[in-house]
Amino acid sequence: MTAHRGVGPSTELEAMEPGGGDGLTDVAAARPLRKDVWRRFKSNKLAVVGLGLVIILVLTAVFAPLIATHTIIERDSGHFREGPSGSHFFGTDTIGRDVFSRVVYGARVSLKIGISATSIALVIGLFLGAVAGFFGRALDSLIMRITDIFLAIPYIVLAVAIASLLGRSENTVIVVLGFTGWLGICRIVRSSFLSLRQLEYVEAATALGYSKWRIMFRHILPNALQPIIVYGTIAVGSVILSEAALSFLGVGPVDPTPAWGLMVADGKSVLAVAPHMLFFPGAAIFITVLAFVFIGDGLRDALDPKLK
């Protein structure tokens, strides 16, 4: 099955094949969960493409100095807004910097912000959602009202406010997106906990004398992880998109930082004469976000085949 995957034109038939295999493995019920998930994930071509793109992105970020042909601040005097060429693959910008090198280094900025902000959001959302769902009652109402309040604040307004307090930097963007991005996770975790805490193995854990925190994070959380993993993956993509938006609006990192959104903003005023300045960083954002969404979708199908 794997040998001829992606070769033949009969994509639909192939996509159905692993579905048929599922029934058999369910009966056997001997295969470890992880292998099952990976097998289902592999059968989703878009997800595999997404995973490949993200791996390339990570490698690009890690090995940026080796890949980049120039530094991010080096100016090639006399070559302003030049289109792609042999010495500048993606052309040069308004002050003669190499767009290719800046896009390559930009992967570092995007990944750093995407992963850090999503991590902050996950930690806050997990904790508040778990507490709300597990303890219920007054604590639940309180936390849910707090999320309502956060939902009512446009994050861009909050970003402008925080940026004016902390100054424009990558860290500002991380703080803003981290502290506004936890709402969705909080709600997902809360609803999982609400239903899971009713289950008998949770009651059994109480009967065995385990503490509330142990029950919450050792017994319930692992059972609630699937939607969180999916949401978290997609969130990295959307955080990168939001970062680009903030940079574009001039609330994000400042100029020498090779943030993709900032480069798009620079390119927009000279779109007619130097479209490459906008096109390449724009494409980088587009591909990156899409890749994370593909992985998220693939993970959701792989983790819970019933949803398909």
Binding site: A29, A30, L33, L199, E200, Y201, E203, A204, A205, T206, A207, L208, G209, Y210, S211, R214, R218, H219, P222, N223
Partner: protein, 362 residues
Amino acid sequence: MTLTPPSTREVLLSVRDLEAKFTTDDGIVRAVDGVSFDVHRGEVFAIVGESGSGKSVTAMTILGLIPTVEVDRGEILWKGRDVLTLPEEERRKIRGGEIAMIFQDPLTALNPVHTVGRQIGEMARVHEGLGKKAAMARAVEMLDLVGIPEAKERAKMYPHEYSGGMRQRAMIAMAITCKPDLLIADEPTTALDVTVQAQVLEVLIGIKDEIDSGIILITHDLGVVAGLADQVMVMYAGRQVEMGTTEEIFYESRHPYTLGLLASLPRLDDEGDEPLVPITGAPPSLINRPSGCAFHPRCRFAKLPGLCDTEVPALRLVAGDAHRSACHYAETLEGVTVDTLRAEVDQAELVAADIDAGEPGA
């Protein structure tokens, strides 16, 4: 009969006049109403009753497992200390460490995301502070003890890779990991095949002797009780109706409800044509309990109108050292057995059949 009756041994648990209720939208549910009993070390104490009789709530209240239940009155003395007045942290230490519970459905009472060995080992890690490796070794030892073959390999498996009987054994292994003094088994065999039931019960009793604990066995299966229990408490509508040794309950019952339960069961020594005598009617609502004796609307022996529907009968000594019954007319039941009940019903059915045949219009 054992030479040393269980009652001479250490009293582990003493429940005194326990009253517990739930408040629902429909009204107050008096789930447990004035229940008292003692459980001794080494003894199997069975609580019998139909669904909604309050047997599970009684057991769960001992452990403090139902957050919505309110205890109005009474004491639950565990080794002399009233657990109801203990702080939550102290109660938590008793749970699992000193009193462990075996749940009804091993399919849902094991966590699907952890290996069985890890779940059993966790008990030792939490209550005895064992390290990861030592806990795993203990888990394997426990699985071995409950008769799971190749315990070392099985410990690495997940619950879904176990059969139902193995899962219930694993549940028992988990409950006994810290050698508790009391095991509460809530319908431990209901979810299992009959053949597996016997094996699991055997394991349970073997373990009890091994760690010298007491067992509270909650069940509606009188067959299970007859084979295992030393003492039996019968509950109906949240109240105790009869209490005594297994022999007293099964052969000299002094309560119409117990007699009714026994007469509704087929027996191995039946010839095959004996009638089964059902208890007519439905269990009462605990919100709106019948006046007087809660069983009177379904009772064959009720004298109405009279004491039965006006006065709640007290649980009182009716025979022997400790055979208690809550029936106003317990004394008149002396000599009444399942066989007499069955004969009576046989007779009544014949009469009814005659009437049906004679007057089709009636």
